[in-house]
């Protein structure tokens, strides 16, 4: 983790679900503290909610069975913009990207639609055998 002139950067790699989710939330907590934001800062709360959705997708679907390929994670904040990137080695997810919010009875399938609504930009690209996610929000 580094903080310089109001900018903030955090990097981590992780493989296990519990560990990964803990690191994602802890990184946002560190950003909150480093930038002097309140615990109820709405912009950061919306960003953390989107990060939780993409992070859980990456941690549950992004690691092919039988591999220990870790997820690479970076969180940075500069000039009022928070940006996270997550890289995993799971199957491509293009067909899920435009998924709409399902009806009230559905117990699953809301994550990507939620993340799109909560962020200013949700980027995805397939790079060789990797999925690269980019989450951007102006705070």
């Amino acid at each position: 983790m580094s903080t310089t002139n109001g900018a903030f950067e955090f990097r981590a790699t992780f493989a296990r679900l519990d560990e990964g989710l803990d690191i994602l939330h802890r990184s946002v907590e560190r950003l909150r503290a480093a930038t002097g934001r309140e615990s109820n800062d709405l912009g950061l709360l919306l960003f953390e909610t989107a990060l939780g959705e993409i992070g859980s997708n990456v941690l549950t679907h992004g690691r092919p069975t039988g591999t220990e390929q870790p997820v690479e994670y970076r969180l940075k904040f500069m000039q009022g913009v928070v940006e996270a990137s997550l890289t995993d080695s799971g199957a491509p997810v293009h067909e899920h990207l435009a998924r709409e919010m399902p009806g009230h009875e559905s117990e699953a399938g809301r994550g990507l639609a939620m993340a799109r609504s909560l962020l200013d930009e949700l980027g995805y690209e397939r790079d060789g055998g990797l999925n690269r996610w980019r989450l951007v929000k102006r705070l």
């Binding site: 939330h25 909610t49 939780g52 941690l59 549950t60 994550g111």
Partner: protein
């Protein structure tokens, strides 16, 4: 962080389920287990006291929807109490605030239930 779930019965016969921690993809199975046990005991009136929930994701929300369906199938009723700001944002974003009656406090949720 694991989700811990405590269950108790009020004198009025309402079951209060109180999860504590993050209700996310890792924590949702614990709530599902607790709700399965609750739903086995007759037509249930259940309040999920969310005061201890620090964060909810779409999978956690799915476990609450599953609980609602399970309880309604048994002619019961489910209320949510004391969701924090993040939980309320997620309920409103998904328009599930139209489906779940939620109350600011546990006392309000139990009143007249």
């Amino acid at each position: 962080m694991t989700l811990e779930v405590q269950t108790r019965q009020t004198e009025g016969g309402v079951t209060v389920v109180a999860p504590s921690g993050r209700l996310d993809v890792a924590g949702a199975p614990a709530l599902k287990d607790a709700m399965n046990k609750v739903a086995q005991n007759g037509p249930p009136r259940v309040v999920i006291d969310m005061e201890g929930i620090s964060f909810v994701d779409s999978t956690g929300l799915g476990s609450v929807i599953a609980a609602l369906k399970q309880i309604r199938n048994r002619q019961g009723e489910l209320r949510l109490a004391a969701p924090n700001q993040q939980v309320r944002v997620v309920l409103e974003l998904t328009t599930l605030d139209k489906v779940f009656p939620y109350f600011a406090t546990l006392e309000e949720a139990l009143a007249g239930f």
